[in-house]
C-alpha cells in the first residue's frame, strides 16, 4: 500500500473533524474521497501531506511516516489544493522553476520536465505570461503541472476541478488518467462531484468525519440494489406475467410502465430484448448513481450538506449519535 492509514483522527477543540479513519491505497490506483463539504476530506489530506498533525492514529505515504518523516513524505507527493496556491505576480515558468528549486531538482532534470508538463497541460505557449492573466482553468492546469514537476509517487488533489466548466474538467481528467498510464502515478483525490468520482478505481464515502463505505464505484452501486429496467409493452399484464415467470422478479407497474431491478443491467438488457415474447414499445436502463449510494449509506443527500463545521458540530451534539 503506497498510502496506509491506520485509525487516523483529528480534533479541533470539541469538533472531531476526522475520527478513526483507516484505509489503504494501492500503487497506481485512482482513489477517491467522496463526501459533502465539512465531512473531513480536506482535514485528512492535510494530515497525509504533513500540513496538519493527527491527534491520534498513524499513516504512511510511500512508506514514510507522516509525522516523523515529513521531508521524505513531502518529496514523495505532489499537491493540488482546493484554493489556488500560485504566485500570480510571477510567470508560469517562474512558478514552476521556484518549485523545482524548492524540491532541489537539478536544472538538467527540471527544464525538460517543465517543458514536458507545460506541453501536456497546453500552457507552453503561455509560459512567459504572468499567472494573474490566466483563467481559472489555466491556473488549475498549471497547478497540476507544478504538482507533478518533481516526479511524485502520489498526487493529492483536493477538489481539483471545483468551479471549472465541464469541458475543462474533462480535459483535466484526460491528463490525469494519461499520467497514470505513463508514470504509474497514484492519484488520491477528494470531490463532491458524483460524476467525477466515477473516474476512481475505488471510492471511500466519508460523512461526519468517518468512512461509511469503501469499494469500487460498481460495487458501491450494487449496494443500492442494482440497475433499474423500465419497460413499456403493448400488453402490460402479459409482460408482467412473463417477467415473473422467467426471472422470478415481481415488477412494479405505474402508468403502464413496468419497473424492476436487476444486478447487472448491461448484460441483462440485450438478453431481454432478444428473447422477450411480448412486443415492446420502449425499454430503458437506469444505473444507480453515486448519489443513490450516498443516500443509501448515510440516509441523507450529499447536496444539502453545505453547512459550516460549527453547524455540523451543533447538529451532531443534538443528533441521535
Amino acid at each position: 500500500m503506497i498510502v496506509d492509514v491506520r485509525s487516523l483522527s483529528r480534533r479541533f477543540g470539541k469538533l472531531e473533524a476526522v475520527k478513526d479513519v483507516s484505509f489503504g491505497v494501492a500503487e497506481g490506483e485512482v482513489f477517491g474521497f467522496l463526501g459533502p463539504n465539512g465531512a473531513g476530506k480536506t482535514t485528512t489530506i492535510n494530515m497525509l501531506c504533513t500540513l496538519l498533525t493527527p491527534t491520534a492514529g498513524a499513516a504512511t505515504v510511500n512508506g514514510f511516516d507522516i509525522v516523523r518523516q515529513r521531508s521524505d513524505v513531502r518529496r514523495s507527493i505532489g499537491l493540488v489544493f482546493q484554493q489556488p496556491t500560485l504566485d500570480e505576480y510571477l510567470t508560469a515558468e517562474q512558478n514552476l522553476r521556484f518549485h523545482g528549486y524548492a524540491y532541489g531538482m537539478p536544472a538538467a532534470v527540471r527544464e525538460p520536465r517543465m517543458r514536458e508538463l507545460l506541453e501536456m497541460v497546453e500552457l507552453w505557449d503561455r509560459r512567459k505570461s504572468d499567472v494573474r492573466t490566466y483563467s481559472g482553468g489555466m491556473k488549475r492546469r498549471l497547478e497540476i503541472a507544478r504538482g507533478l514537476l518533481h516526479h511524485p509517487r502520489v498526487l493529492f488533489l483536493d477538489e481539483p476541478t471545483l468551479g471549472l466548466d465541464p469541458q475543462t474538467r474533462r480535459r483535466i481528467w484526460q491528463y490525469l488518467l494519461d499520467l497514470r498510464e505513463r508514470e504509474g502515478l497514484t492519484i488520491f483525490m477528494t470531490t463532491h462531484y458524483m460524476d467525477e468520482a466515477e473516474y476512481c478505481d475505488r471510492i471511500a464515502i466519508i460523512d461526519h468525519g468517518g468512512i461509511v463505505g469503501l469499494d469500487t464505484p460498481r460495487a458501491l452501486k450494487d449496494l443500492v440494489g442494482g440497475d433499474l429496467i423500465s419497460l413499456r409493452a403493448g400488453d402490460t399484464a402479459a409482460a408482467v406475467a412473463e417477467i415473473q415467470g422467467r426471472y422470478g422478479i415481481d415488477p412494479q407497474v405505474t402508468d403502464d410502465t413496468i419497473r424492476f431491478h436487476v444486478p447487472d443491467g448491461e448484460t441483462f438488457l440485450p438478453d431481454l430484448v432478444r428473447t422477450f415474447g411480448q412486443p415492446m414499445e420502449s425499454v430503458g436502463l437506469d444505473r444507480p448513481t453515486l448519489d443513490d449510494v450516498f443516500l443509501t449509506l448515510t440516509g441523507h443527500e450529499i447536496r444539502d450538506e453545505e453547512v459550516s463545521g460549527y453547524d455540523q458540530m451543533l447538529r451532531r451534539g443534538r443528533g441521535p449519535h
Partner: protein
C-alpha cells in the same frame, strides 16, 4: 540542515524576483526617504547652520535617512508572509521539503538584499549632499546594513505571523515605524534633547543602527563632538552600536522563527 539552507536561498530568491518585477514598489521605496531629505534638508539647513564642525543638517540627517530606508524595507518585508497566506502561496512553500527556519531566514535575507539595493542607490546622493564616500566606508556599511535589516525583518515577520490581512499588517507596521523613526536620532542628535525624549530614544534600538551608519559616513569625530549616542557618560563606538543591534536582532529573528513554526 541542507533543507534549511535550500529554504534560505529559494525563498530569498523569490523575494528578490518579486521586488525586481514590482516597479511601483521600487519607486515608492525611494520616494519617501528622498522627500524627507529634500524637504527637511531645505527647510532646516538655512536656519540651523552647522551642528558640529563640518557637519550641516543635511549631512547629519543623510545617514539617518539611509537607516530609515533599511527600517521601512525590512519591516515591510513581513507583508509577503501575510500576502502568501492570503493568496495561498504559503501552502506551496510549507509543503515543499524545506526547513521552516530556513524559510523565515530566507524571507529575512530577501529583505536584506532589497534593503541593500536601496541603500546602494541612495549612496549615489552622498556626494550631492556633501558626504564623502570611499570604499572603506562602503565596506563598513555592508555588515551594518545586513545586521540591522535582518533583525528588523525578523520583527516584520514576527508581526506578520499573527496577522491575517494585509491591511491589518500595514496598520500595525505604520504604528511601529513612526515612533521608531522619530525617536532614533534621524532628525536630531539624541544627546541634545529633553531628558524624557533622550531616555526613550536611547532605549530605541534603531538609534544605535542610525549612529553606526552615521559614524561610518561622518567619522567618529562627529560622534565625539556631540552628535553621537552617549550612554552613562560613554560615547558608543561603531562596534558597540552594531553589537546592540545584533543582540536585539537575534532575539527578534529567533522570535520570528518561533512564531512561524508554531502555525500549522
Amino acid at each position: 540542515m541542507a533543507e534549511n539552507w535550500r529554504g534560505v536561498w529559494v525563498v530569498a530568491y523569490r523575494e528578490l524576483l518579486r521586488f525586481v518585477r514590482d516597479r511601483s514598489r521600487l519607486v515608492s521605496s525611494f520616494a519617501f526617504p528622498l522627500l524627507f531629505l529634500v524637504i527637511f534638508g531645505a527647510g532646516f539647513s538655512q536656519t540651523m547652520g552647522a551642528l558640529a564642525p563640518g557637519v550641516d543638517f543635511v549631512q547629519f540627517m543623510y545617514p539617518g535617512i539611509l537607516a530609515m530606508t533599511v527600517l521601512t524595507t525590512s519591516l515591510f518585508a513581513g507583508i509577503s508572509v501575510v500576502w502568501d497566506r492570503e493568496f495561498g502561496f504559503l501552502k506551496e512553500v510549507l509543503v515543499a521539503p524545506m526547513g521552516r527556519t530556513g524559510i523565515v531566514v530566507g524571507k529575512a535575507f530577501g529583505a536584506v538584499v532589497v534593503a541593500g539595493i536601496q541603500v546602494g542607490i541612495m549612496l549615489v546622493l552622498a556626494p550631492i549632499v556633501g558626504v564623502p564616500l570611499d570604499l572603506v566606508a562602503i565596506a563598513a556599511l555592508v555588515p551594518i546594513v545586513v545586521i540591522l535589516s535582518l533583525g528588523l525583518a525578523g520583527l516584520g515577520i514576527l508581526v506578520a505571523s499573527f496577522m491575517r490581512s494585509q491591511q491589518g499588517f500595514q496598520l500595525l507596521i505604520q504604528i511601529i515605524i513612526f515612533p521608531l523613526i522619530f525617536l532614533a536620532g534621524v532628525f536630531f542628535p539624541v544627546n541634545a534633547v529633553p531628558v524624557w525624549l533622550e531616555v526613550i530614544s536611547k532605549l530605541n534600538p534603531l538609534t544605535y543602527g542610525v549612529d553606526a551608519i552615521r559614524q561610518v559616513l561622518l567619522g567618529p569625530e562627529a560622534a565625539q563632538a556631540g552628535l553621537g549616542v552617549t550612554v552613562f557618560g560613554h560615547t558608543m563606538t561603531v562596534v558597540e552600536d552594531v553589537l546592540v543591534v545584533a543582540a536585539l536582532g537575534s532575539v527578534l529573528l529567533g522570535a520570528a522563527v518561533w512564531a512561524f513554526r508554531r502555525q500549522e
